[in-house]
């Protein structure tokens, strides 16, 4: 069942076309990989879908309560509240906050109470704060960071920061998760652990996951649908097998592919 629809999306930066006329359709529970050479417009596409950038043209619509709602040009926070969560290429945790509070921030809307309630510390405050606390601990347990809950996010190791960021995205209760190069800067073992972890949450929570990644092995092993971008244009879509055989992809990737092998 279709959950997200991107129609003819374009994004232009001062004359430079970062994404041109991209169309794609994502189904519920799918694991989508977006690949392409450097500068192909992958992150721009992410940023357009998650509201960080406005669209120059086209539209994005998301299924909310069995109806498609246009989310193109909505604010990132509105889109997040519709159930799309994301991580960032360069990890954007709340560095000066504890790991636990990082997760709690993401649950802002799930257990609401008013300012007055928080001032008077009435029942609804205590109940909801207790729920937030308990749920946040559960999420940390899920990613194996419970014992680090009181350290500042900036004190975590790189791999733990990635996990924490994913936990934070999950804590928003999202139905779609957008991961921007989650394995960037990780060694082989770390990448493997992360791959297992992402597969695990995909199955356990029935999430729809969209992933940008350079590591071909990771993409091919995780994703069931792959979108290939090249110079802002969507040149191919399909199953990992189709993509590996697609001549356009091979042509676009040839130079890049060699680099990839050298760097990994």
């Amino acid at each position: 069942m279709e959950i997200l629809r991107v129609e003819n999306l374009s994004r232009v930066f001062g004359g430079i076309v970062a994404v041109a006329d991209a169309s794609l359709s994502i189904h519920e529970g799918q694991f989508v990989g977006i690949i392409g050479p450097n500068g192909a417009g992958k992150t721009t596409l992410f940023n357009c879908i998650t509201g960080m950038y406005g669209l120059s043209n086209g539209n994005v619509s998301l299924k909310v309560d069995d109806k498609f709602v246009s989310i193109g040009n909505l604010s990132p926070s509105k889109i997040a509240r519709y159930g799309i969560a994301r991580t960032f290429q360069n990890i954007r945790l709340f560095q000066e906050m504890t790991v636990l509070d990082n997760i709690k921030v993401a649950m802002y809307h799930q257990y609401p109470y008013g300012v007055l309630a928080s001032f008077l510390r009435v029942g609804i405050f205590s109940r909801n704060e207790a729920m937030i606390h308990q749920r946040a601990l559960q999420w940390l347990e899920e990613v194996g960071l419970v014992e680090k809950k009181d350290s500042l996010a900036s004190q975590l190791s790189y791999g733990d920061q990635r996990r924490c960021e994913i936990a934070r995205a999950l804590a928003t209760n999202a139905k779609m998760l957008f991961l921007d190069e989650p394995a960037a800067g990780m060694n082989e073992q770390e990448t493997k652990n992360l791959t297992d972890f992402i597969r695990y949450i995909h199955i356990k929570y029935g999430l729809t996951i969209v992933l940008i990644e350079h590591d071909m092995k990771l993409v091919m092993s995780l994703c069931d649908h792959i979108v290939v971008l090249d110079r802002g244009i969507c040149i191919a879509q399909g199953s990992p097998k189709d993509i590996q055989r697609n001549p356009a992809v091979i042509a676009a990737y040839l130079g890049e592919e060699v680099d990839e092998h050298v760097s990994h």
Binding site: G14, T43, Y53, F88
Partner: protein, 292 residues
């Protein structure tokens, strides 16, 4: 009509002063993204230095102006090294608070040294007024226009033609890349501060000569207005600062001319807020969004 033309002349001479000060704001902001709150104090110190050079050392106005510019530039250089350089990688709020600290330090140190009272700037010129089709333009105003014009042309040449100008443009475009190209980033930033300070000192000295009074707190309001001018024109743009300076000078003079002199400061800030909301990048600026 004649009255309007008169207001325009007056507004332009006030605007020249704002433009000179605004240039310093814009250059410093362009290069390290800092609102140098202490910039108005450079203007005040420039005026005081000229004052003492003229009264104590009996120097002629132009020589005093030059020496004052050099000394203030030196001061700007030193301040950058001591107060701002250690904060190169700090948060913007920290840098901003430091700038406020420097501003207060200079104001009150000056007050401590020379007293809080208003000083009378010596009348260096016989104030002749020329009459052009009924519009009066005084010798002092001509002086302000010519000094401003000379300085702006000099600055433009410096920034666009010289080696240090190239370094400045490179550093403001991309600090890391500039450093990799062998540009001494710290030195370039310090020189930018010095240049801005020199221009502000010139403006301060001209104001002293024009209005005949100077005081340790004289830099606060013109400093803020010059900042507004820089934002109005598009902060980071040298031409924008010139344009903005003249615009703010004109707006202010015209408002006084219409009879709302008490409201003139409020109006300038109002202009600022409107500009920030409608087009934060200013008249000549280009907008940009943070890279995610």
């Amino acid at each position: 009509m004649v009255q309007f033309a008169q207001q325009v002349i007056n507004g332009m001479s006030l605007g020249s002063i704002y433009a000179l000060v605004a240039l310093g704001y814009t250059m410093v902001y362009g290069i390290i993204k800092l609102i140098n709150f202490a910039h108005g104090e450079m203007y005040m110190i420039g005026a005081f230095l000229s004052f003492y050079l003229i009264t104590t050392f009996k120097l002629p106005f132009f020589l005093a102006l030059l020496i004052s510019m050099v000394l203030t530039a030196l001061l700007g250089f030193v301040i950058e090294r001591i107060a701002y350089k250690p904060l190169r990688n700090a948060t913007r709020i920290a840098a901003l608070i430091t700038a406020i600290g420097v501003s207060f330090l200079l104001q009150y140190s000056t007050m401590f040294l020379v007293g809080a009272d208003i000083k009378v700037f010596p009348e260096g010129f016989t104030n002749r007024t020329f009459n052009l089709l009924g519009v009066g333009i005084s010798l002092k105003q001509i002086l302000i226009f010519s000094v401003t014009a000379v300085l702006m042309v000099a600055l433009n040449t410096l920034v666009n033609k010289s080696k240090i100008g190239r370094s400045m443009r490179a550093v403001s475009a991309d600090k890391e890349a500039a450093a990799l190209m062998g540009i001494d980033v710290d030195r370039t930033i310090a020189i930018t501060f010095a240049l801005g300070a020199a221009l502000a000192a010139a403006a301060g000295s001209l104001v002293g000569m024009y209005y005949n009074t100077i005081s340790p707190l004289m830099g606060v309001t013109p400093g803020l207005k010059a900042f507004v001018a820089a934002v109005f024109g598009g902060i980071g743009h040298i031409k924008g600062a010139m344009l903005g300076g003249f615009a703010i000078g004109l707006i202010e003079t015209l408002v006084v001319g219409v009879g709302y002199s008490l409201m003139k400061d409020a109006l300038v800030f109002f202009v600022l807020i409107v500009v920030l909301i409608v087009k934060p990048s200013g008249l000549l600026g280009k907008g940009g969004r943070e890279k995610v």
